[in-house]
Amino acid sequence: MTTAMAISLQVNGERIDAQVPPRLNLADFLREHLHLTGTHVGCEHGVCGACTVRVNGEIVRACLMLAVQADAASVETIEGLSDSGEISDLQTAFSDRNALQCGYCTPGMLMTAQDLLKQEAEPTRERIREHLSGNYCRCTGYQAIIDAVEATARLRGKRTA
């Protein structure tokens, strides 16, 4: 039973059928089988947040979910959010404020920040910190990231006002 199993899922809106061994986690499936390398692999035990993706609209750690568990699910990666333009303002804010340096954490940061901004229109800096607390950044010291998320929330507020 350790042999490959058939899965069928949506990835960034595209239907994917694949054969995967049970031990393969979702992050490695996205990276190595689908070549969607925007999902980064850091700690592989749920601490760093670099592998954050959306499954059925909710953010999860792709390293803590088996690819076989994504059968019938809708998965969205940073490539999907980026190509659709959903987070272009957030990406611009990250760039403008130097909220990234090496960029390793950035896909996970963007996924998690967008998750917060979808749920709360005007998060305080404290709330932003709390929501991003599961995402490590070893370059920026976080201040610029909080600035970028806060600025994006303000801009989006103005646009809808």
Binding site: E44, G46, S133, N135
Partner: protein, 294 residues
Amino acid sequence: MKASAFAYARATSIDNALELLAASGDRAKVLSGGQSLMPAMNLRLISPELIVDISGLVELRGIVVHGTMIRIGALTRHVDILKSHEIAAHAPLLRDAVAHVAHPAIRNRGTIGGNLAHADPASELPACLLVLGGTILVRGLSGERRIAAAEFFRGIFQTALAPTELVIGVEIPVMRKTSAHFFDEFTRRHGDYAIVGLAAQAEVEKGVFTDFRLGFFAVGDRPILARAAGILLSRAVTPSLISEASDALGVEIEPQEDQQASAAMRRHLAKVLLARAVAALLGRPELRHAGGAV
């Protein structure tokens, strides 16, 4: 690292899961939310031969209030508890605690049943279940058992659960209108495992505790209800009484040393939380630093 190879079975019903477990015994592991199991497998701390995935069993999801009891299905996720109006109204201690459990992406998958069955001594929910007088509902092929939280947690990652049994849910008494609760913990980073934590619930009449339950976690091999709470019952609380309770607490707990903290540091932090809880529950901020808590 990556998990070693294993066979995978998606359970189609509770009975199907129990049959799979009965056939494999302790060579199998139950996959619920996977937020503790997967790290342990990726780190090769465990290498089960069979994963029994119960995450599709919808009958194990949901929060229902029956009279004076709240029943929470084992597959109810942390995020569901955090957003539940029933929990906010009838077990607000749980909601406050869950906000400290890991991070949003993990709370979106981690489940209450998995959390309790895992029995991490630094985990928030086991201590809450103790304080709330909760019952863990367990099913095996021979039937259902109800295990009081006080009897369920047996040590580090050890419970009264047999390898062939499943946690199917928990029952918690609805909080009385007159009860007050408190939750706080020390962590290096919000959402990390606690260095020391405290879940508490109390009845206060005219500034005096008539009931007081202190559930400390990460101070030993399992969560405990501190006997020191008894010292603060039915008497006017003064800084010297808190000192007395604080000393008793220091003797009672047996914290372990690890890379996060020494045993002495954990003892100190437990006392700090005790004073904070008393001050908050009695609405007397001046007691926050009583008993040497700074």
